[in-house]
């Protein structure tokens, strides 16, 4: 039906076919975001608090001044990597929820390797640390994929169990074998030298390079998933394993490869946490980024490019939590409530895709 109209008016039809899906992908979530904020406003009003003040504070703390942007963007990097750790395996229909383990062990690997190459040129040091962290994370989550393929072990529970095991291992090693005797009241590995600390990007605010590399990782993942035959094969395998096997696709390699790649991303999150923020590996690495990453990936519908705005929005919300506590006399959990409401509405809005007439080319063609 629409085919025939499209052939009759090629320029207009092609234009609509090209832009309407994009408009849909942008406008539906935006409208949902506003709806979610409106619902949360009702919550605030019943408490006798002003929604206008509340949103003004979010804007102020998260997005108004240069410092606000620093406050927001400096929280984004681990969310990007952790989101990829969920989104990449999701392409194969796998639900990996244990990225936290790969972050923690990746961070530990980076810290230990960094100390091993002290004195080498920084470039080599960084490469060794980052590669080691990615390898560690890749092996950890890749093992989940391997167990899934070889033994049919469910990846959701295996990755969660392994996250707890990873945390225990990290704590054990940081308080034992790798403990710096000087780290008195906070058991840590020895501090990395200044030369092996990832610095801030030259953009005038203190946001470290992890942000840029996180964005880069998202873009590369998008290309891999949407523009290569490997990504295409993964999608087929994700839709129907049997069909993929019949077509001769290497399902095992795809499963292990995509889980390992996701784990490598999580490992890199650990590397940047250690090298850019903490300067050593210690218990502070266990801060739940891996679990926030699950939320980020699902909100982004496992689209690596969408992970970037979602993570930034989430970081902005988190950045404003403090100011809201201080100015409005609301508990720190207020932001959690808001995130919960907004995200439920956002996810609910997914039901609208393909069902609104204004995003259907025929709607416009009839008018024209």
């Amino acid at each position: 039906m629409s085919d025939t109209t499209a052939t009759q008016t090629p320029p207009m039809g092609a234009l609509l076919a090209r832009w309407l899906p994009r408009a849909e992908a942008l406008l539906i979530p935006l409208a949902a975001l506003l709806c979610g904020l409106a619902v949360f406003s009702l919550f605030l009003l019943t408490l006798g608090k002003s929604p206008i003040d509340f949103y003004a504070l979010i804007y102020k703390a998260g997005f108004s001044t240069a410092f606000s942007w620093q406050n927001t963007l400096s929280r984004v990097a681990p969310l990007l990597f952790a989101g990829l750790c969920v989104a990449l395996p999701a392409r194969l229909g796998l639900v990996v929820i244990g990225g936290e383990g790969a972050i923690v062990l990746g961070g530990l690997a980076a810290a230990v390797l960094g100390l091993a190459v002290v004195g080498a040129p920084p470039v080599i040091g960084f490469v060794v640390m980052a590669a080691g962290a990615a390898l560690m994370g890749g092996l950890w989550i890749g093992a989940v994929g391997w167990l899934r393929f070889k033994r049919g072990v469910n990846e959701t529970i295996a990755s969660l169990l392994m996250a707890y095991i990873a945390i225990a291992l990290m704590n054990h090693l940081v308080e034992g074998l790798f403990r710096d005797p000087q780290s008195l009241n906070k058991p840590s590995t020895a501090p990395l030298p200044e030369a092996l600390r990832v610095g801030d990007m030259p953009i005038g605010i203190d946001v470290h390079w992890g942000f840029a590399f996180g964005v880069l990782a998202c873009v590369i993942s998008w290309v891999l998933m949407d523009r290569t035959t490997i990504g295409f094969a993964a999608r087929i395998a994700g839709d129907n394993v049997r069909a993929a096997q019949v077509q001769g696709l290497p399902v095992g390699k795809l499963i292990i490869g995509f889980t390992a790649l996701g784990g490598a991303c999580a490992g890199l999150a650990g590397f940047f946490e250690v090298s850019a923020i903490h300067g050593s590996a210690n218990g502070s690495l266990i801060s739940g980024y891996g679990y926030t990453g699950i939320l980020v990936a699902f909100l982004a519908r496992h689209n690596p490019l969408a992970i970037i705005p979602v993570a930034t929005l989430l970081a902005g919300f988190e950045a404003s939590s403090g100011l809201i506590q201080r100015r409005m006399d609301l508990p720190d959990a207020t932001i959690l409530v808001m995130e919960g409401i907004v995200f439920v509405v956002l996810l609910l809005s997914e039901t609208l895709y393909g069902r609104l007439a204004i995003f259907n080319p025929t709607f416009w063609e009839k008018k024209a």
């Binding site: 229909g93 639900v95 929820i97 167990l147 899934r148 393929f149 070889k150 033994r151 049919g152 072990v153 469910n154 959701t156 529970i157 295996a158 969660l160 169990l161 392994m162 707890y164 095991i165 225990a168 291992l169 704590n171 054990h172 308080e175 034992g176 699950i294 939320l295 699902f298 909100l299 508990p331 720190d332 959990a333 207020t334 932001i335 959690l336 409530v337 808001m338 995130e339 919960g340 409401i341 995200f343 439920v344 956002l346 996810l347 609910l348 997914e350 039901t351 895709y353 393909g354």
Partner: protein, 309 residues
């Protein structure tokens, strides 16, 4: 305190038994609830949020009314609300049940922390325990066998659910809805309604699991009361292969193995305690690997579940 007997190394098996009874109940209730939900064809990953909200609301009501059982009831009702909400949203086409679960986890925890601030300090009445250790004159045995009624209810519930799935019309309806949406429609069932009710009932059980945490063991409300029991219990359902009886054993295993770390330290096995604390996870993973095989990756799994596709 009657004088404690010197039980030495016997403290370890005793702690494992006691720990299995004390610690397992939240895992048991949440996993039974999730089992019920998943058998109907939906995943509710958000039971951690329901658990935490149940812990808070149960504690608050118990404190306000002076009755811990009213607290349990309130927690169950709160769980029903969360379950209904999840079930209602997920009936819309194109909405991902796992993602909604995660968002509801956030919302549940947020609301619990938000409204729970005034209840961190007050002391609410605890649920009573049944002294099943009366036959022994060793105080440690008596203490280990202080069994809460909820644990026994949970055990009975596991058997009852198993029986229900096998032998009742309701059980059949849930199983059919869980295995195939089309098949359910074909025999005149509305799969959305079945799933809505199953998710609501599952939420109620998760809420009770939370109330156990705040009203019995450890028996207080604070923001760190749950250390991920709700999330873990959801995962345990897969381990239990969607079988309620297995959920019971899985919860016991988890509780008992969790007691290993502190008990070993108390008898002098002091180094490497982090590794002993990881015992429940290592054991579960090992059992999972041993009992799985590539041919029956999803044995027992409801066919309509989104992770099985």
């Amino acid at each position: 305190m009657s004088t404690a007997a010197d039980i030495g190394i016997w403290g370890v098996p005793l702690a494992i038994i006691g720990g299995a009874i004390r610690v397992s109940t939240p895992f048991l209730f949440v996993s039974l609830g999730e089992c019920l939900t998943e058998r109907s064809g939906r995943i509710n990953l958000g039971l951690e949020g329901t658990l935490v909200f149940g812990a808070m609301s149960g504690y608050a009501v118990a404190y306000g009314t002076g009755s811990p059982w009213l607290g349990v009831l309130a927690a169950a009702m709160a769980g029903v609300l969360f379950g209904l909400f999840h079930g209602w949203i997920c009936k819309f086409k194109g909405v991902n049940d796992i993602a909604i679960g995660i968002a509801l986890m956030l919302l549940g925890m947020g609301l619990a922390f938000f409204f729970g601030k005034p209840y961190i300090q007050p002391v609410a009445p605890d649920l009573p325990a049944i002294p099943l250790g009366w036959w022994s004159d060793i105080p440690q045995v008596q203490a280990a066998l202080q069994v809460n009624a909820l644990f026994l209810i949970g055990a009975v519930l596991a058997v009852a659910l198993h029986w229900m799935f096998k032998n009742t019309r309701v059980g059949l309806a849930i199983r059919v809805a869980g295995d195939s949406t089309d098949a359910a429609r074909a025999i005149g069932l509305n799969p959305d309604t079945v799933r809505l009710l199953s998710t609501a009932a599952g939420g109620a059980l998760a809420g009770v699991g939370g109330a156990y945490l705040s009203l019995y063991y450890p028996g207080s409300w604070n923001e760190g009361i749950s250390s991920g029991q709700g999330l873990m219990a959801v995962a345990l359902v897969i381990f239990a292969r969607w079988n309620p009886i297995n959920c019971f054993w899985a919860a016991l295993l988890f509780g008992g193995a969790g007691a290993l770390g502190p008990a070993l330290q108390s008898v002098g096995v002091t180094s490497g305690y982090y590794l002993f604390f990881a015992a429940p996870y290592v054991l579960t993973l090992a059992l999972l690997i041993i009992t799985s095989s590539p041919d029956k990756a999803m044995e027992g799994a409801p066919g309509a579940l989104s992770i099985t596709k």
